[in-house]
């Protein structure tokens, strides 16, 4: 399988919405802020409102997580949230409606984060087509490695979507190369060997993960997993192109609704004072 595409040879700064958003942050001398919230949590309208608050308070890129029955890369907070969404009868097309609403209301690049069987069941082509039609920038696929991604790469190429693969502290140099070559938009650097969840400290593995991806040619690397405080954001922002926060935002949404998401995002992005 070839993972080298036309898009890799001509880094699609203009074609990639996510790349544009990250580059815009860079031109302001800061790392991009990437915020994750689950689609439809706690209900559709509130999840849209919360995602809009993310953007208003300084998020450059928004990840809309798609609830899935078997989220092996997620810790208890996100699991609990997405399980609740599924239990109330969530159906997949809702994701595209949420993406469309957030895209219309904000300037952020809006990606979905989805386990692959949801794409597979709909069909990679159909999923990509509907995501593109909704104005989505692309997708992060935590359980898809480039080795299995032939259909997804072809479909995202056809629809001009970003596809974000993960690279881990355990990834060999050969694998990092493959991951970087297959990714578009940015490469997701997993900061720690583990699942999603707030942690007290950012693993020192994160900086090495970013360096490995950069030396394999990655133009943009964002770091996620365990990031929950402003000092984490500042620390990672020194060496990465973007900082990804999920669990902390989901906890805020659970406990305080969209206004709590707004407050936390402002605190994390440092936008509280200036905006």
């Amino acid at each position: 399988m070839s993972t080298t595409t036309a898009a890799d040879k001509h880094p699609a700064t203009s074609a990639s919405k996510t790349a544009r958003a990250i580059e815009a942050a860079r031109s302001q001398g800061r790392a991009a802020f990437v915020g994750y919230l689950p689609a439809g949590y706690p209900d559709k309208a509130t999840s849209i409102a919360a995602a809009i608050e993310l953007a208003r308070n300084g998020a450059d890129v928004i990840e809309i997580g798609v609830p899935y029955s078997d989220p092996v890369m997620d810790g208890p907070v996100i699991q609990q949230a997405t399980t609740e969404v599924l239990a109330r009868g969530f159906r997949l097309p809702e994701v595209f409606e949420i993406v469309e609403a957030v895209v219309e209301a904000t300037d952020a690049a809006v990606l979905v984060m989805t386990y692959y069987n949801l794409i597979d069941r709909m069909g990679a082509e159909e999923f990509a087509s509907r995501l593109a039609a909704a104005g989505g920038a692309g997708a992060i696929t935590p359980d898809l490695i480039p080795d299995e991604a032939g259909e997804w790469i072809a479909a995202t190429d056809r629809h001009g979507l970003d596809r974000v693969f993960l690279t881990a502290p355990s990834s060999s140099p050969e694998r990092v190369e493959k991951i970087v070559a297959a990714s578009r938009g940015f490469v997701y650097g997993v900061s720690v060997m583990g699942v999603t969840g707030a942690r007290d400290q950012v693993s020192d593995a994160a900086e090495r993960v970013v360096a490995a991806a950069k030396s394999a040619g990655a133009e943009r690397v964002c770091v996620g997993l365990g990031v929950s405080t402003r000092s984490h954001v500042e620390e990672i922002g020194r060496y990465a192109d973007g900082v990804i926060v999920g669990t902390a935002l989901v906890t805020a949404l659970r406990d305080g609704g969209p206004s709590a998401v707004a407050a936390l995002t402002a605190e994390l992005t440092g936008a509280g004072a200036s905006r």
Partner: protein, 438 residues
């Protein structure tokens, strides 16, 4: 993804990662390095005479291999025209075939320098086997088990704890095998440096399907030799139950390239496939990815995994090993569902006719074989079926007692009616909650 043309002749020793369009590695990147390490270690070990000798020594002196091949004439006669032989994996140490794979992988874990084993378990058989190997080899052991399963297999929870393992009940999702696998994977992502995930079936990401089959192929090899020496010919059919499919793959492997031997896998039909309450992923026939492999998967229109249902905790899994999907797709093996009711009728029949209490999982194979024998009619006279008796039923006695209402005080008891009449009124202990029908 691989060309199927040349494979029409040869099914044995098929290497991963792909079995036709099935298999692969649908896994988080974080685990790929560990999977590569397992694969590399497995390939080296297979080629290392010292490793083979140690595995064979343990299989013989600890497991008790070879397991017997027992002809069951009274059971066969009641079932239909064919003769039936049971491959007695129930007589292995720990009471099921699971020990074969566990010993092999535990040796590999030692070879990789890992000090901790984690495992998922449904019925508890694989968890017990893993806890056993950990005790034998002085390794730490954590077993994840759906909390619904800890209730219906409480005795196996106690066995694992006696063996020094930590049993972690998994409370989310359907609280069964699939959720236990999710939790074991989450553990492994964070612990991979010192931990081996001892996956218990021929599912999961490459190299597990191929590797677990390899550790179980002794079942089919022994059965083939035994039937040839006893009867001077190959069987007409071999039959096994299929959840993830490890015992079936182990038995099938010995006969894959004998086209005259029909291969039958019996899936858990639960209340009947038409009710939606079952665990017959192959019968349903929808391709998808779960737990690292592309295979047949019980899923809804959106791709969300559908909860499976079976009286047998060990078959209560919504997918199946990718090599079985491949054998089904190519037509080399036939897969059919067996309902809870059919299974329990055969469970009772084997107890009554042969003095052998089978695992409820294995009783699916008995019921399927009985159906097959009947379907042959007169043409079945003299035909031979080998059935994998993959486990013993001690762990299932409580479930069976509830099913057949054999306990004191169960007044609707059709089987032990006289008992009830005599003892029921003053029977002090009400039937325990088993959760079987829940």
């Amino acid at each position: 993804m691989s060309a199927p043309a040349e494979e029409t002749q040869k099914y044995r020793d098929h290497e991963g990662p792909y079995f036709g369009s099935f298999g692969g590695r649908w896994m988080p990147e974080s685990l790929v390095a560990a999977l590569d390490e397992v694969e590399r270690t497995f390939r080296e070990a297979k080629a290392d005479p010292a490793f083979i000798a140690e595995f064979q020594r343990l299989s013989r002196d600890y497991t008790g291999r070879p397991s017997l091949l027992t002809e069951v004439t009274r059971f066969a006669a009641e079932a239909g025209p064919a003769r039936m032989f049971l491959k007695r994996e129930d007589l292995n140490h720990t009471g099921s075939h699971k020990i074969n794979n566990v010993l092999g992988q535990a040796l590999l874990a030692q070879r990789m320098g890992k000090t901790r084993l984690i495992a998922e378990t449904g019925a508890g058989q694989h968890g017990v086997a893993t806890a056993t190997a950990a005790a034998l080899m002085g390794m730490e052991c954590v077993v994840y088990m759906g909390s619904a399963d800890t209730k219906r297999q409480a005795l196996n929870v106690a066995r694992m704890r006696l063996l020094g393992a930590e049993v972690v009940p998994v409370d989310h999702g359907a609280q069964t095998l699939k959720d236990a696998i999710n939790e074991a994977l989450r553990d492994w992502v964070a612990s991979v440096e010192n931990t081996h995930y001892l996956l218990g079936t021929v599912a999961g990401p490459h190299p597990f399907p191929e590797m677990v089959r390899w550790f179980h192929q002794i079942i089919g090899e022994e059965a083939r030799e035994q039937i040839l020496s006893m009867e001077g010919r190959l069987p007409d059919a071999v039959a096994a139950c299929v959840g993830g499919g490890s015992n079936a793959m182990g038995l099938f492997h010995g006969f894959l390239d004998d086209p005259e031997v029909a291969l039958y896998g019996f899936e858990a039909g639960g209340d009947g496939v038409e009710t939606g309450r079952h665990a017959s992923a192959i019968t349903l026939g929808r391709s998808g990815v779960l737990h690292g492999a592309r295979s047949y998967l019980m899923q809804d229109e959106d791709g969300q995994t559908v909860d499976s249902h079976s009286i047998s905790a060990g078959l209560d899994y919504p997918s199946v090993g990718p090599e079985h999907a491949y054998l089904a797709e190519t037509g080399r093996a036939t897969y059919e569902p067996v309902t809870d009711a059919e299974c329990m009728a055969s469970f009772e029949m084997l107890c009554r006719t042969e003095g052998i209490i089978p695992a409820i999982e294995s009783a699916h194979a008995l019921a399927g074989a009985a159906r097959l024998s009947r379907s042959w009619g007169e043409a079945g006279e003299g035909k031979i079926i080998i059935i994998n008796l993959s486990g013993r039923g001690d762990k299932d006695v409580e479930t069976a007692a509830e099913w057949f209402r054999l306990l004191p005080g169960q007044k609707n008891d059709p089987v032990a009616e006289t008992d009830t009449a005599e003892n029921g009124a003053d029977g002090p202990s009400p039937a325990p909650e088993t959760g079987v029908q829940a």
